[in-house]
Symmetry: C2
Subunit: 349 residues, 2 copies
């Protein structure tokens, strides 16, 4: 595969370094429970993972929000835990409880994982991507994604969501060799998975490191920056021209090192990142994406308008993609998303 | 009350601006479930709030960790939710579930709160402080504390812990006048409460803003910096000489504005704050406190030693108090705390 021609889709142009007015926009978890048509499709699938592994339904829910709001990008409908699932760990989603996994907490547990069936297991996800690649509007970019190794590892070790990641950090600090093997396995599998997403039509990649903010700087360097940099380098080398967006959520001051040292083309910002700081420290180095508080989309009204304008005024002057600081929440009224889309499309920077 | 004489206790000297080697140390939640003697005392009280309101038992658990580890400071044993409890909101702690409150979500709910009985309700807490003031070792400083208005408001509005603070933010953005009234009531009550703690023997104050990191910059400025600054100014004016430590947890880049604009004497850092950045941006302006990852105290061993040394090498050169980045977790082995205490006391910077 050789270098691609210069992008024409607005989302990809922004990632290539152009300042666009109005900026391109999409929303994390734009395909989801806040939409009645999603809930309708969801009800026809079995489990949540069944939906992720059903190319017809997964591509349908990916496309649903585009029909309403005309986003500049669509992200594959899937979940970050399909990777541990494909490695042979038992993963289940219980309604209202979040994910439950049989935890990996020792070298013995780790030895039961097996990467040899990765692509076979994930074939339906690749089929979804291929379907989307044909079905997506000509001006809409198609984003592939994966969880970052650190964030996926927290679920694999805790066996569920967690407040303090005690089991994961204990493994990291008390059995560093076992933890390093888990992270190496995840980094390789994640790279394999992302490359195959690209080969099936993904035009850009986002890597979600939702729990990056939980690590002190030395461990952040090793387990957030390190694996992300190696994923960026691998994609750049094996599939040149496909941009990568990192999202080291709540990294705070460490967003700067993250951008400098991973080489990402774009960085997604949580809602806590001050705009002027991002404009000064991050935007000269890569495209920034973000960072409206998702609860402003629940509140709506003038507060929503003011929140949108506050971001556009500061970040809209440089390379920028409008997004939320975290995923849309289920109680978001769809008409508030319409209000956001309308305001963005009418923005004159 | 007039200015006090220069402090002799190591913790207070560090807050007054001295660089001490080894630095003074204490640990957030040092009186707690990881200690068998705490669990024994806890079992003799009724509910968790009963323990907070029992001067004999609350002072006993405050003193317990001092006997083991010789910390340079002790913090009043209490809870940040005694303030809403004293304002008349129904507050209960259910074992393993965390706090449950009858939520305040409207002007009508708010009108049922009443600050007139605050001091009467909190009299047992003041009695605990008075008891501690006499019982504490001569070299140990006695810290009073409260939750910051923003963090206390999240519990009052959500009615429990929360992941995204959706109800609180919705009130903040959709009913700004009602939310401002709640915050004003909390700021006044918190100030009254802290002044009275000082009058009963507290030699320093820490204000815990555990959820400060959940706010975008404009709301952080208004609801974290604003109320903290007014508390700092009130204490400085009404009880001069009593230092105030702020803890805007996970504020990230906004730690800098917090320190500059609130005028705190000290700032407590979560474990995600990079040390070199804190030494450059924060330590010249106030005393810094922190920020060992609490899970390193669970892991123990050489990882713990390395984690301690990493912090001491960077922050130990300036005005500094060693602490954790968040509270001790219940599964912490007490012997790991002993190892930490020994290493700190032997440190030659």
């Amino acid at each position: 595969m050789t270098d691609r021609s210069p992008p024409t889709k607005r989302f990809l142009r922004a990632l290539a370094g152009e300042t666009l007015s109005p900026p391109p926009f999409w929303l994390m978890r734009q395909a989801g429970r806040y939409l009645p048509e999603y809930r309708e499709t969801r009800a026809t699938a079995g489990s949540f993972l069944d939906l992720c592994y059903n190319p017809a339904l997964a591509s349908e829910v990916t496309l649903q929000p585009l029909r309403r709001y005309g986003f500049d990008a669509a992200i594959l409908f899937s979940d970050i835990l399909v990777v541990p699932d494909a490695l042979g760990q038992t993963v289940a989603f219980r309604e209202g409880e979040g994910p439950v996994l049989t935890p990996i907490r020792s070298a013995g547990d780790l030895s039961r994982l097996d990467a040899s069936g990765l692509h076979q297991h994930l074939a339906p996800v690749y089929a979804t991507m291929a379907t989307l690649s044909k079905a997506i509007p000509a001006t809409t970019a198609l984003i592939g994604f994966a969880g970052a190794p650190w964030t996926v590892a927290t679920y694999m070790v805790e066996g569920s969501g967690s407040k303090d990641f005690a089991q994961t950090k204990k493994l990291m600090w008390s059995e560093p060799e076992t933890f390093a093997r888990l992270m190496q396995m995840l980094t390789t599998a994640t790279g394999d998975y992302l490359i195959r997403q690209i080969d099936n039509g993904a035009e850009a990649i986002q890597i979600f490191d939702t729990w990056a903010g939980a690590l002190p700087e030395d461990q952040f360097e090793r387990w957030v920056i390190g694996p992300t940099r190696s994923l960026v380098e691998r994609i750049r080398s094996e599939r040149p021209g496909v941009p990568v967006v990192g999202f080291p959520r709540q990294a705070g001051i460490l967003y700067e090192r993250f951008v400098t040292e991973t080489g990402v083309d774009g960085v997604s910002l949580d809602s806590g990142v001050p705009l002027a700081w991002a404009a000064e420290k991050l935007q000269p180095r890569c495209t920034v994406q973000g960072n409206l508080d998702p609860i402003l989309l629940v509140a709506g009204g003038e507060a929503l308008d003011a929140g949108i304008d506050r971001i556009l005024k500061v970040l809209g002057k440089g390379r920028f993609i409008f997004n939320l600081g975290h995923g849309i929440v289920p109680q978001t009224p769809p008409e508030h998303v319409a209000r956001l889309a309308e305001r963005l499309k009418g923005w004159k920077g």
